[in-house]
């Protein structure tokens, strides 16, 4: 078909089978999907976004707007993949998209006939009213019609890695400039990373015919790559796109490890997202050719001239047997010459310049323009208007178009760089403040000759290393093509009413830009939003320049004044999987397991996530049909005899130093200076604005040694806060902090038999009697014949209770021992639900009450805030706004019918008051069923709640529909005077 008999960098000895829209084809190793399809005579590869126009390949690289296909099936199905960069492999399954029922006959091609209605701003103008139609009618229709490929709803079966690389010099792009830079820095011994998005390094050297010294460009590139590969200080990252330039020399890059395989090897990632820390970087990203807009310039077969010769030279494929070239610069002539050299019939060069140079072997039509094209599913002919005004048709199968080349400035503009216009090449070049440490070399800087690019690459590397205090020498670089750029800017063929495309992907035509201008959307950013020019997967790599030029023409400004839109990462589309890395599914975040986890699993516990912790929520027993049954039993068993709960998750901070007590005195709003050794005290921490931050206990193990506990959720934040106080506020206090949360396995042993149980565990020399170890005592003890332990007589449940801690490795064994020893008391393990029920019954505040909006006064602990000392938050907790008599106070609630449920989050209202914010009296924070009281109970915040005990109110939740009559009571439902604690 269209495969040329010789040439190209393909392995003709391999034959790779692939399918496109279900039809089988063959290609070779080294092909892309696009080159293989062209070789098989397939020009039609997709349908356009809006008008569903037949489209073929425009480019030979990642800038491709048209040839977007869907690759693979099932969970690996990936839409909107550019055929021009999809490396061919045996068994590749590709499909076209945005066409139904098929590419050749697409029902929505009707949109093309309706194009007069589908101009810029169509949505904004058409779907205005009635408003109710939006959700029901317009949006579903638009959503069905919009978009290109379809995403799979299957889980992605592949893994993605994230990794970190460090280098002296990052070189982005392995064309002539990048290779010269890498060779220079690599030979100098610097740590170099060379990244290129192609699977074969060399850039344009692989697609051009001019020699470097006595070698072909491709051979020279291969030789340099081989040398670089042999250097241990150089890392070559092929198939790697540098996506973004971030602060201080940090770059993101995605390496496509396995996209050229049917599926990744076992255990290997599909892609790796690299974070690259670079000392310096050289951007050698080359240049991207731009098209010229003319009527019906979007037919399959019309492509960029540089891409056309890339297909011929690198892949030995011609898009058609007879072609022509439409250009405004000398580079277009190269395409004609290269194709003729490969035996392709070039019908003519249509050159917009009146002074176009001649070209051996082909007619050059100087001052001519292509004014139209024909061919429903692929180019059949073009109409050329010659300088003298005569028009005639040329029958050709493909047209190469060159409007000049744009330096690829994207990465240079990801920070504060703003491109500047260069008249000499009629294009924007990098300008403004480039990302820290970045230089640009070669075509990306507008240095379009090969010789210039080589020299610039080497020079940039020498400069970069010199900045880093290293010396390097330029390698001997071969003689290479050093032609000048000769271009006369020409953007679009005027004088036509037909549509001339600027942005192929988004179907934006010259008319749309004209319309945007008429309607006042003249700034480039407005132009982009109004017309969608430059949006979507290609981000306008081939289209932005044309749009700007047309707008500049319309406004009478220069292109430089018109400016460009912002360039933002990522440079090309990235799979979300690559951004997520390994943090998916059950590995979304690490899991923290308690010391008794394995034991709890054996008991059949149901687990709940508490932050990263997995905690036993309750322990269902045979015959129990619902969680409430288990929880009620656990509560009753604990209050009736003894229960055990793993409370290791509470944050523990070791506080030592001569000033430890004075430090805690400033951290907690209540006093700690006088706490005796061997005693524990409850402490409330405030934020500096007077709001409660966290609570816990502090146990004084020695004069200069405390152990502070925090809530599970706030452990990290409290530690940070205490370090802030220690380092920033009181830098000369002698106090040292370290977290010991993980170091101790800690269990609550609660219930009237808890002492009896512990007496069987704790070594006999330690007196656990009420006198020997009273409520709020603490001490270092041993258990089980000598295992070091800590014992605290504290109670969250309201019962006689202890917390016992042993080194973490013995936690599992201690839990099992407690269960064994407790058998005579019918000891019952309890989970977080029962823990929660008992603390609500006791009226202890927890996370629901310490919710970042409440003060000590709200919590009923106003008198705890000492005014005899300076502590964090004390001053602002006393400010007027927080002292209102009518302010919220924590109280308890009981439904007037015990079995009526009260819902946490319900709002409190006077009986009979309408459910409106204006009538709000407060809200319920925690609620549960109390098996102890045989009633639902709740605690919450009520305006002047302390004065309203006995009143009957409504607790209504507009969210759940619950509306319950409740009586205001003390929040201490169980043992309000604390007799049990002290028993």
């Amino acid at each position: 078909m269209n495969r040329l008999p010789t040439g190209g960098q393909i392995d003709r000895t391999t034959r790779l089978r692939f399918t496109f829209d279900g039809l089988p084809y063959y290609g070779h190793a080294g092909d892309t999907l696009a080159s293989a399809l062209l070789a098989n005579g397939v020009r039609l590869m997709g349908r356009s976004f809006k008008y569903h126009r037949p489209r073929g390949v425009l480019s030979a690289g990642s800038e491709e707007p048209n040839a977007l296909v869907q690759l693979r099936k099932g969970g690996r199905q990936e839409p909107n993949t550019r055929a021009t960069v999809a490396e061919l492999f045996d068994g590749l399954d590709a499909a076209s998209q945005n066409a139904w029922p098929g590419l050749k006959l697409d029902a929505l091609a009707i949109n093309d006939r309706l194009s007069n209605f589908l101009t810029a701003g169509f949505y904004y103008k058409t779907f205005m009213w009635p408003a109710a139609f939006w959700e029901k009618l317009y949006e579903p229709i638009i959503r069905r019609a919009a978009g290109l490929g379809a995403i799979t709803t299957d889980a992605d079966p592949d893994g993605y890695d994230r990794g970190f690389l460090h280098c002296d010099l990052l070189i982005i792009g392995a064309g002539p400039a990048g290779l010269a830079a890498a060779l220079t820095a690599g030979r100098a011994g610097a740590c170099v990373i060379l990244a290129d998005e192609d699977f074969c390094m060399g850039g344009r050297l692989n697609v051009e015919t001019h020699a470097l010294g006595d070698q072909s460009g491709a051979d020279w590139a291969a030789g340099v790559v081989a040398e670089l590969a042999s250097l241990p200080n150089v890392r070559l990252l092929a198939r790697t796109t540098v996506l973004g330039a971030f602060d201080h020399g940090i770059y993101a890059a995605v390496e496509r490890v396995a996209d050229h395989l049917g599926q990744p090897e076992q255990g290997k990632p599909r892609q790796i997202l690299w974070r690259i820390y670079s000392g310096r970087a050289v951007l050698c990203a080359g240049a991207i050719e731009r098209p010229i807009a003319f009527a019906n310039n979007d037919r399959p077969g019309i492509m960029l001239a540089g891409a056309m010769r890339a297909y011929v030279n690198r892949w030995a494929v011609t898009p058609a047997q007879t072609v022509a070239v439409f250009t405004n610069n000398d580079d277009g002539h190269r395409t004609a010459r290269d194709l003729m050299a490969q035996g392709v019939d070039v019908a003519a060069i249509i050159d917009t310049r009146a002074d176009a140079p001649a070209c051996d072997g082909v007619q050059v039509m100087a001052g001519a323009q292509v004014v139209d094209s024909s061919g429903r599913l692929g180019l059949k002919s073009i109409t050329v208007r010659q300088a003298n005004g005569q028009e005639h048709r040329l029958s050709i199968g493909a047209l190469g178009v060159s409007g000049g080349w744009n330096p690829n400035v994207a990465l240079s503009s990801h920070q504060r760089g703003r491109p500047e216009w260069d008249d000499a090449i009629a294009a924007f070049v990098p300008g403004g403040a480039l990302p820290q440490g970045m230089q640009v070399a070669g075509a990306a800087l507008g240095q379009f000759s090969t010789q210039g690019a080589l020299a610039a690459g080497a020079g940039a590397a020498i400069q970069a290393l010199s900045d880093l205090g290293k010396t390097a020498q330029a390698p001997d670089l071969p003689m290479a093509e050093d032609g000048e750029v000769r271009i006369t800017p020409f953007w679009h063929v005027g004088g036509t009413k037909a549509r001339a495309w600027l942005d192929f992907q988004n179907d934006v035509t010259v008319k749309d830009v004209t319309l945007a201008h008429q309607e006042g959307f003249r700034s480039v950013e407005h132009l982009k939003r109004y017309t969608t020019l430059g949006m979507a997967t290609d981000q306008g790599k081939t289209s932005n320049m044309g749009g700007l030029a047309v707008m500049a023409e319309l406004t009478g400004q220069s292109i430089a004044q018109t400016g460009t839109t912002m360039f933002r990462p990522p440079y090309t589309p990235v799979a979300l999987g690559a951004l997520a890395g390994r943090s998916v599914g059950r590995d979304f975040r690490p899991t923290r397991l308690t010391p008794s986890h394995a034991w709890a699993v054996e008991q059949g516990a149901v687990f709940v996530e508490a932050g990263m912790w997995l905690r036993a929520q309750y322990f269902p027993r045979t015959g129990e049909t619902g969680w409430r049954q288990s929880v009620d039993r656990e509560v009753r068993a604990t209050r009736g005899s003894v229960g055990v709960c793993d409370v290791t998750t509470l944050g523990k901070i070791d506080v030592q130093g001569r000033d430890a007590a004075a430090f805690l005195n400033r951290i907690y709003c209540n006093g700690f200076a006088k706490l005796a050794v061997g005693r524990v005290r409850y402490g409330l921490m405030l934020r500096e604005d007077g709001i409660a931050m966290d609570d816990g206990t502090a146990a004084r193990l020695a004069d200069d040694h405390f152990v502070v506990t925090t809530t599970t959720a706030n452990a990290v934040a409290v530690f940070r806060h205490m370090e802030f106080a220690r380092q920033c506020l009181w830098p000369d206090m002698d106090v040292q902090l370290i977290s010991t949360t993980e170091a101790w396995a800690q269990f609550a042993v609660a219930g009237p038999q808890s002492r009896a149980l512990l007496q069987k565990i704790v070594d006999s020399e330690f007196d656990l009697s009420n006198d020997g170890f009273p409520f709020m005592a603490c001490g270092e003890i041993t258990v089980c014949s000598g295992c070091p332990a800590r014992l605290f007589r504290i109670s969250f449940s309201g019962e006689l209770a202890y917390e016992i801690a042993v080194p973490t490795r013995y936690g599992d064994a201690l839990m099992r021992r407690l269960m064994d020893a407790g058998r005579e008391f019918d000891v019952t393990p309890y989970g977080t639900e029962a823990l929660g029920v008992m603390r609500i019954e006791k009226g202890h505040a927890a996370g629901n009450e310490l919710n970042g909006q409440t003060t000590a006064l709200n919590l009923g602990m106003g008198r705890m805030v000492s005014d005899k000392k300076d502590s964090i938050g004390a001053v602002l907790s006393r400010r007027e706004g927080l002292q209102e008599e009518n302010g919220l106070r924590m109280v308890g609630f009981m439904p007037t019918s015990p079995q009526d449920r009260v819902i946490a989050g319900a709002h409190l209202l006077e009986k009979g008051a309408a459910l409106r914010a204006a009538n709000d009296l407060g809200y319920v924070t925690s609620a549960c069923y109390s098996p102890t009281l045989d009633s639902y109970i709740a605690i919450g915040f009520l305006k002047a709640g302390d004065t309203r005990l006995g009143d009957v109110l409504r607790a209504a939740s507009p969210l759940t529909g619950h509306d319950t009559e409740v009586t205001v009571v003390s929040p201490h439902f169980v043992d309000p005077d604390g007799g049990r604690l002290r028993a």
């Binding site: 020399g249 500096e688 370090e723 920033c728 830098p731």
Partner: protein, 95 residues
């Protein structure tokens, strides 16, 4: 961003937790007569400059030191990094 830690050298800003204006070091005396007014200013009134800003960063995934980082909020250029403890002492917060 890279923060050049005074002890550890260049570190990725991702290792840090951000707090804000370094004036939070200047906590007023809670027992002073004008404490309420002083704390109102301390807790609520802060500048939010487009430009150079002294800020507190906590090296949570590193050595747990609080740093005072002078950073241009527009360009992200970092011109100085100090241990907050040293700054606090220099500002007379030591004994």
């Amino acid at each position: 961003m890279i923060i050049n830690h005074p002890l550890l050298g260049p570190c990725d800003a991702q290792e840090f937790t951000y707090l804000g204006d370094a004036r939070l070091i200047d906590r007023p005396d809670g027992m002073a007569g004008d404490a309420e007014d002083a704390f109102y200013h301390y807790a609520y009134l802060r500048d939010n400059p487009a430009g150079e800003h002294r800020e507190l960063w906590f090296h949570e995934q590193g050595d747990r030191s609080w740093l005072v980082v002078t950073r241009n909020t527009v360009t992200h250029q970092i011109t100085s990094v100090e241990l907050a403890r040293d700054v606090a002492r220099k500002q007379g917060r030591g004994v």
